[in-house]
């Protein structure tokens, strides 16, 4: 592995070894080039990600379209009105029709809005210039309500997204005891790392052969614990879900 560095340019040696890694040292001219570029606001090494990406899109503008398409449209274009696609001109040029006698200037016919009751779809259905306005909230059985947001009715609120904060579930490590435990983060949005613990006494036999098998997970379930379904014992293809007694871990009531 080679690493270009812009330091130590005054040294005569062009190659040094730091911690076993050969480091190629560039000369003064390279430094000057780099400094010049940096002074102009362009660094030769500038792989920084975009720090911020503020971008506002009105859902009235193509709510289901890709956003990069939506933002290219001017906001005041009434795309929520019925769209009439322009007919493409034929390949062969047509001669312009002769003007009718005493013709008045042509009046451009814009798209016509046909008012219908407003629904949650990101469109101005009732042609009043507003989108998804005054739509009622839908009560949720477990509490809270669903609101029209971004052209869709939202999901019902949940106590947490992934797991109840501070709750624990059993997991399976790849070495040693093959058993571990992971704790839900304080915001309930993810589990922390799987930390090795000794398995329950009744499950020690499940890993006696020194291998990880689904017997570990089955034993976990048999113990009445909340266990990650790493071996997909329920056969649904989801190896990140939880099985077992997870009442105090899962976010669903």
């Amino acid at each position: 592995m080679k690493v270009d560095a812009h330091f130590s340019f005054a040294k005569r040696r062009r190659s040094r070894v730091f911690g076993g890694v050969p480091v190629r040292v560039l000369g003064p001219s390279a430094l000057l080039c780099w400094v010049t570029l940096a002074a102009c606001g362009r660094s030769p090494i500038n792989l920084a990600p975009p720090q911020t990406t503020p971008l506002a899109v009105d859902a009235a503008v193509a709510p289901d379209a890709p956003a990069d398409l939506a933002i290219d449209l001017p906001v005041d274009v009434p795309v929520d009105l019925p769209i009439e696609m322009p007919v493409e001109a034929p390949d062969e040029p047509m001669p312009p029709p002769p003007p009718p006698p005493d013709a008045s200037p042509p009046v451009e016919a814009g798209p016509v809005c046909h008012p219908v009751p407003e629904t949650c779809n990101g469109v101005d259905d009732n042609c009043d210039g507003r989108v998804d306005e005054d739509l009622p909230a839908i009560p949720c059985p477990g509490g809270g309500a669903r609101y029209c947001a971004g052209g869709h009715y939202s999901e019902c609120p949940r106590r947490c997204e992934t797991c109840v904060p501070g709750s624990e579930r059993e997991c399976f490590t790849t070495l040693c005891t093959f058993w571990g435990r992971e704790t839900c983060a304080s915001d309930g949005r993810s589990f922390g790392p799987c930390r090795e613990t000794p398995p329950p006494d009744d499950c020690k036999g499940a890993s006696n052969g020194g291998t990880r098998t689904k017997d570990l997970e089955q034993c976990c379930l048999d113990q009445g614990l909340c266990c990650i379904d790493e071996f997909d014992l329920d056969g649904d293809g989801d190896r990140t879900e939880m099985l077992g007694r997870c009442d105090t871990v899962t976010c669903d009531p």
């Binding site: 971008l55 009105d58 971004g150």
Partner: protein, 286 residues
């Protein structure tokens, strides 16, 4: 001596473990809506917003009115949002009240959380109109890698700072709640998902949403609405703001002068480079 040191170490270790445990998701009251000292309309309900671990087990909620002290009132608890609600039937007569929001127990937590006493004044006016709030105006994002008290590990979160349009309500701005939805991104899955419910930030302040990297990498959009104390909501949730995030790891580059660097800084760097090159050439043997 050794024995005393060992005992001291054991005590410290035990105490540290307990501190970490206690700091993990306590079922505290996060905020009262409206906050203490507010003036509320006669038909308002009052809310206490608890942490998501809080469980309501019929603890007494007491109300001090101008005529009585310590009346237990009927409340409802919405565990999905952690909201304990006091909605007086027929409203409250004008006057000054204090409601005592209780300490609640929590799931997976031994110790009870914090409650609060909220003093408020009821007016004769009623809240009849929905709030005015045009939703979000901009979003900025960054990555946060912070120690988590529950997992005792570093957790990555995308932090979205949301700018809010002005909000108001005939029942008072202090009684508004802000509900933020994720309308695009892995978490929303083509729909919209509530990701934040809190008291409306002060005028001019924004809101912050923190999401796991897996839920918010790529094109992410948000919208928001305001909700008043009578459960009426604003329009404005149709307006979405979006950001395109990049999953870590990041390399923020080696630039020593940004694009906004002035000409003075650029000139200084050029002079510095020239001097260093000259010194290097003098030091080089012929």
């Amino acid at each position: 001596m050794r024995r005393a040191a060992a005992v001291a170490l054991a005590v410290v270790a035990f105490w540290s473990a307990r501190v970490v445990s206690a700091a993990c998701a306590p079922p505290d009251l996060l905020e009262a809506i409206p906050p203490s000292g507010s003036t509320v309309p006669a038909n308002a309900a009052l809310f206490a917003h608890y942490a998501s671990t809080a469980e309501y087990a019929n603890e007494d909620v007491l109300l001090d009115s101008p005529d009585h002290v310590g009346d237990a009132v009927t409340v409802t608890f919405d565990s999905t949002q952690g909201l304990l609600e006091f909605a007086p039937a027929g409203g409250l007569p004008p006057g000054t009240y204090t409601i005592h929001w209780p300490s609640l127990r929590g799931l997976n937590v031994a110790a009870p959380g914090k409650g609060a006493d909220v003093r408020f004044t009821v007016t004769a006016a009623t809240d009849d109109a929905p709030p005015t709030f045009d939703g979000l105006t901009a979003v900025r994002w960054d990555l946060e890698r912070a120690h988590n008290d529950c997992t005792d590990a570093l957790e990555n979160r995308f932090v979205f700072d949301l700018d809010l349009a002005p909000a108001d309500d005939d029942g008072g701005r202090g009684g508004l709640s802000l509900v933020v939805f994720q309308t695009a991104g892995a978490l929303s899955d083509g729909g919209s998902v509530p990701v934040l419910t809190e008291a409306m930030p002060a005028a001019g302040k924004g809101a912050t949403v923190k999401l796991p990297v897996a839920d918010a990498t790529g094109h992410v959009c948000f919208s928001a609405l305001a909700r008043d104390l009578t459960d009426k909501t604003s329009n404005g949730a149709s307006h979405v703001v979006c950001a395109d995030t990049t999953a870590p790891p990041f390399f923020r580059g080696c630039a020593i002068a940004g694009r906004d660097a002035g000409s003075g800084a650029g000139a200084s760097l050029l002079v510095l480079g020239a001097v260093l090159i000259a010194r290097a050439r003098r030091a080089r043997p012929r």
